[in-house]
Subunit: 230 residues, 2 copies
Amino acid sequence: MTVAKPRARAGGRGRPSKAKGLDLKETILDAAEGLFARHGFHGVTTRQVAAEAGVDTALIHYYFGAKRELFDAVFLRRAEILNTAREASMNAYVKAHAEAMTVEGVIEAFIEPLLRISQEGGAGWKNYFALVAQVNNTPAWGGETMARFFDPVVHQLVETLKTVRPQAAYRDLYWCYQFLTGSMMLSLSETGRIDSLSEGECHSSDLEAVRQRLFAYCAAGFEAVIAKAG
Amino acid sequence: MTVAKPRARAGGRGRPSKAKGLDLKETILDAAEGLFARHGFHGVTTRQVAAEAGVDTALIHYYFGAKRELFDAVFLRRAEILNTAREASMNAYVKAHAEAMTVEGVIEAFIEPLLRISQEGGAGWKNYFALVAQVNNTPAWGGETMARFFDPVVHQLVETLKTVRPQAAYRDLYWCYQFLTGSMMLSLSETGRIDSLSEGECHSSDLEAVRQRLFAYCAAGFEAVIAKAG
DNA sequence: CGCTTTTTTCATCAGGTGATGAAAAATGGT
DNA sequence: ACCATTTTTCATCACCTGATGAAAAAAGCG
């Protein structure tokens, strides 16, 4: 929790030095991101976020409005970056291997950006992936939220796969995507379960191990489902 | 939400007809299960649970104590049934195919009981699976909870797979299990995301479609990972 | 410096939270 | 029919929740 009360500035209240405002906004988003990721939307209070960010409670409402709007701001901030990176990765793959695309190649182009960002992006990104994983499994409003932010890039994946395997039915591709996203999100959220389960053989934080297995795993799964149906 | 105030009995307060007590306890667990599944632990109040069960708020504390104890009671109730069913399924498979076990067969024996129970068990079980899926993706205390209730049967799966593919490393088997459980839990929780994503091609509730694809998908994934490492 | 604008703080509200103790009602044993 | 026991209800507590309006403080600008 790490309470750090006098964060904004040493002196009393008032207007900060110009660019400090946006900086404070990011600090609030970071604090909210970490807390939401760990405890979920309802498990966090605006007062906790304020305390973690070292900021007055009212300031959160001043910048973001209602609590739910704060959550959406957290969710949106990195979603755009993510979508841009994935689109670029898939476009690059299609362009580079237009004549000889493979299922595994397409899947790698879809997943790899997330692994790389998680490995190089720091703690903020790790919190974000844990948050998305949690939203992904929230029946009440998770599906709608995921759809709002991530549907387009998923459609791009499915269409590309359809190009690679024209005989595959969309039904099969969508089901396989669901399997893929379940595996991917659980791995990205690094819950620590595999650490205790494997008694030290594996570590949640070892995304290199995920990289070495997940692409091949999913690709083989896709091929098997397509072959079985075809 | 379906508020049904006068549930217990028409008449006033007081002690019920003998067996009614346990019956009421189950009613409370059912109500809590549904609400926790949809909104998570922190998204539900004891008053909501009481209203949904048609019961006074104080009665919940009388039977279960603190809110967290109620949650644990919900989680425990079906976990034992689940573990028994899965153990039996895997033992039966090992016994019947001792000389010629396949990876897909073992995986099917591991997953199939859950699909069958979800299809035949009614709404209560569907709520329960959604709840487990949510806990599975909860960083704060989900890993510990999952381990406490479900680790033994997972070790049984891994050991059986090790028998079928002795050359496979435990590291690979545990990672593959993580991929498998991510896919399985997301499918069992029926979030409805695939419905809108596929624009009507697929339906979350269609567990028959899951059955026709998930076993083959996971088995092919396991084999691919093992082959790549070996 | 004065004046406006923006940011930060303070005080507080109306309502909801988990939880409890005591009273009331119904039961079972004798 | 009585009384001890168990279950259900009621009233309430102390605290926390998200949110707001007004005041205070600092910055920008002439």
